[in-house]
């Protein structure tokens, strides 16, 4: 490369630049004792030196223990009989009874299938679209126009799911815009939200509306960090715009894609509970009912708390297993991983 291109701004600039020059990290303790530190510090010395830091961590740790790890331990009621008003960890062991119950419960497998279908559809549609949009935005030359598009497309991300669903319902109601259009072409009005066959489409469509813009942020950031000289080189080699996109741009954002894909896979089974819950009704249970809504009804409406916990635990474990394996696979194959 004969023309030295200006380097893209280093990441640090994103955080406001003038930060520390790459000084080797060393413990700030300036006491002579610490300077003669051994590699391994005993806990006693550590506490003595950093007790103030440890005390700062106490309240947040209590928070984690109670509100995050408490419910995690509370999962034992999947294996114990739970009596309302009794211990939150249940009263007596019942072994795998509740597990057997849901394994033999046809409704469970029904909602399981629904969850997998809805989750896959969402992932297949909502994962690639932000990439496409980011690439399109990247081709826009008028900066004000680009910013405008970005601002507008981020907007739905900031709205409460209640508002999102409210708007979806207004659009799809019998008097709403979609039916107005159908009516203009002489068609019969369709009560979309009462039709099970439309549910998945509505869910995924509104999910796209909500996430496509916001999802571009990380890709756009990755796009800015692709070295311009790569494009120059590709051009010298005779690559047109499409081939530049294919051979330079896409590989440049691949790490971002992989990380987001892993995260997506992890949350695959947690299809947006709140959205399904707000959008569905008994008429659409057939396609709309997912694991989380089912366990909500079983657990908190019908009060089978242990049973619902067993289902929830199963779902959480699958989610965990999927993140771990996606991460492992990606580390083996692409060298990119979350940790």
């Amino acid at each position: 490369m004969t023309h030295p291109q200006p380097e893209p701004p280093p990441r640090a600039a994103a955080r406001g630049g003038a930060a520390a020059p790459a000084a080797p990290p060393h413990p700030p303790a300036a006491k002579p004792k610490a300077r003669a530190r051994k590699r391994k510090l005993s806990w006693k010395t550590a506490f003595k030196r950093d007790w103030q830091l440890y005390t700062l961590a106490i309240v947040p740790l209590i928070f984690f223990l109670i509100f995050k790890y408490g419910p995690m331990l509370g999962n034992v009621i999947a294996f114990r009989r739970f009596r309302p008003g009794g211990s939150i960890f249940g009263d007596e062991w019942v072994g795998l009874r509740y597990i057997q119950m849901f394994v033999n419960d046809p409704s469970f497998w029904h909602v399981f299938t629904n969850t997998v279908v809805l989750g896959s559809l969402t992932m297949v549609v909502c994962f690639p679209l932000p990439i496409v949009l980011a690439l399109m935005l990247n081709e826009v030359r008028q900066q004000y126009f680009k910013k405008l598009v970005q601002s507008i497309s981020y907007l739905p991300h900031f709205l409460s799911i209640v508002i999102i669903v409210g708007m979806v319902m207004q659009l799809l109601s019998l008097e709403g815009t979609v039916n107005q259009i159908i009516g203009a072409f002489g068609g019969e009005g369709i009560p979309f939200l009462q039709r099970a066959e439309w549910f998945r489409f509505i869910y995924v469509g509104s999910e796209v509306w909500q996430t496509i813009g916001w999802g571009t942020i990380l890709y756009l950031a990755a796009l800015t960090s692709i070295d311009d000289s790569l494009y120059e080189a590709a051009k010298i080699d005779g690559a047109g715009r499409w081939r530049q996109t294919w051979h330079v741009t896409l590989p440049g954002i691949r790490p971002t894609m992989v990380v987001l894909l892993i995260l997506n896979i992890g949350s695959f089974l947690n299809v947006g509970f709140e959205k399904v819950f707000l959008l569905y009704n008994p008429l659409t249970y057939e396609t709309a009912d997912v694991i989380s809504t089912y366990l909500y009804r079983v657990g908190l409406v019908s009060n089978n708390l242990s049973y619902a916990t067993a289902i929830g635990l199963f779902q959480a474990l699958i989610g965990l297993a999927m993140v771990l394996s996606a991460n492992l696979i990606s580390r083996r194959t692409t060298g990119t991983s979350l940790w």
Partner: protein, 308 residues
Amino acid sequence: MVTDIRTPDLASVKPRTTQRTRGERLFGAFNATFLVLLCLGMLYPFITVLAQSFSSSGAIKAGQVSFWPVGFNLDTYGAVMSNDMFWRNYGNTVLYTVVGTAIAMTLTTTYAFVLSKPHLKGRKVLIGIAVFTMFFNGGLVPNYVLISALGMKNTMWALVLPGAISVFNLLVMKTFFENLPKELEEAAQIDGLGWYGIFGRIVLPLSKAVIATMVLFYSVAFWNDWFAAFLYLDKSELFPITLFLRNLIAGASTTASEGAAAAGSTTAQVSANIQAVTMILTVIPILTIYPFVQRYFVSGVMLGSVKG
């Protein structure tokens, strides 16, 4: 400036070529057209709800409202705004947002500060405790049982405490703190300042920008939340506005799905109006601040993406 974490514009990618071929111009035109259509499509739901909020219920019922109000009136706004419960729930939302954000910021900032000290013994464990909760959690029922057992049902605490630390936000702050110049802290230590002093008098003042970002993240989350309220609150005078709205919408859709299409239509159409107005009034605060704070959100996301 260290305090300025606003991103350089994502938009500032340099144009790659100087002259464009005909195909490129064609593509550019197609691209721009597509993006304009996309934006219109994305804005349309807002526009139609706004139009409905000013329309007469008869026009909505007749399916005449799309871009523009039909039968313009402000009566629906008047009706909604004269509802005491609406204002009370609106006030609740403000209260929950303020308290929740305050608690969340305190916990997140202190913990992020601790985690950002690379020399701290046990730091890995402390990080692990937080990060693990991103990938595994207790589930709906155990959470519910816990909150009930703690006696928090029908109190504000059920809404503001469980969400007090978002691990994502925590990692964003940690990354930010890690990138502050070490020299300042070292100098402060030599001057005899303890970690409390360093945190309160050096780190926090230097971190105004990231703090602002996190305040925005948390307050939008608390403002928008409805499900915790739905689970843990029974008394309507405690509801946040989102739950108020949800009940309006759910009420309207049950009426509709119960097949009372002919007879019950009066209630259904009135609430289409009222729903629209309530939606507009609920999003107004967010829409008002959105143009000014959008880039802080973006920078927050980018900070979080830097591997910590």
